[in-house]
């Protein structure tokens, strides 16, 4: 029928390399806690390692890197709406926190 219905076929060596990389990244993010990094340093390191791991899993293990743009955009763009939700709830949480400080302490 259509082209592109053949399965994803990639060398096992690639998977092993990504696997090793994920191990290293997990160890690094664990060490962030182990060495008690605090504040902005901690948060940025956590986010960076998290995004790197998530990117590797989606791109290589889930084969997103080899899919066509139509599928990539259909799956990866809608979750960006969650960022709007996070923004709204962040403002909401801030407001709740301030009212609690005013009335419940």
């Amino acid at each position: 029928m259509s082209t592109g219905t053949t399965g994803q076929q990639h060398p096992i060596g690639l998977y092993l390399k990504i696997w090793a990389l994920l191990f290293v990244l997990s160890t690094l993010s664990y060490l962030v806690d182990y060495f008690h990094f605090q504040g902005l340093m901690r948060w940025s390191l956590i986010i960076v390692f998290m995004l790197l791991k998530a990117g590797l899993i989606v791109a290589i293990f889930m084969h997103m890197a080899w899919e066509r743009l139509s599928l990539i955009y259909a799956i990866l763009v809608p979750p960006l709406c969650l960022l709007v939700l996070v923004g709204l709830m962040w403002a909401e949480a801030d407001h709740t926190f301030l009212t609690r400080l005013l009335f419940f302490r």
């Binding site: 259509s2 082209t3 592109g4 219905t5 399965g7 994803q8 076929q9 990639h10 096992i12 998977y15 092993l16 990504i18 696997w19 994920l22 191990f23 997990s26 993010s29 664990y30 962030v32 806690d33 182990y34 901690r42 948060w43 956590i46 986010i47 390692f49 998290m50 791991k53 998530a54 899993i57 989606v58 290589i60 293990f61 889930m62 084969h63 899919e67 066509r68 743009l69 139509s70 599928l71 955009y73 259909a74 799956i75 809608p78 979750p79 969650l82 939700l85 996070v86 709830m89 962040w90 909401e92 949480a93 801030d94 709740t96 926190f97 609690r100 400080l101 419940f104 302490r105």
Partner: protein, 230 residues
Amino acid sequence: MSAVPMPSSPQPAAPPDGLRGLVSDWSSDRQAFHVPWGKAMMWIFLLSDTFIFGSFLTGYMTVRASTTVDWPNVSQVFSLHVGATEVPLLLIAIMTFVLITSSGTMAMAVNCAYRRDRVNAAALMIVTAGFGEMFVCMQAFEWTKLILEGVRPWENPFGAAQFGSSFFMITGFHGLHVTGGVILLIIVSIRLLRGDYERTGNYAIVEIVGLYWHFVDLVWVFIFAFFYLW
């Protein structure tokens, strides 16, 4: 009837790549995604699941940012004693490595399946399910430990009460997904061994199960970062 012979329709050209491909795929009459339908459906299911876990984590952020009571020291709550020393987050780190390892074996199972090496594919899927089950067992151990220490969805001895509700809801839903994945893996590996897919030679099902399994690992990456490390 006209006797003029109709010219045979030309072979459809390969669809273009890049942005032009995006437009032509989405505006095509019959098929937008050039993948097996099961794979497209799995991706759409995973998209909806992303919203479920995304909402959970956002809810967790909201209760954590709005409480006036100190959040428990997660690093200490999840520490384990090894001999005399207390190692922070040890069990969680091991669980992370177990899940990543299971993702690696799953990726290799997909590779074997597409080479029609169904025995090795099934074996690797069983190994994946084994690691998944190990993860669930460690999670059960962690739940037991915390429940015995007095953590409840409405209170806990370490700090803000919202800690318990977020913990049980988020890790509970994730554990449920892992358990479902283990069952799915076992069913598909049995069907692989029985040779159910040999007739059609269509082994896309292994990749589809693999997508689900990698997604479970993906969700854990976010839970690990936001719940355990933050």
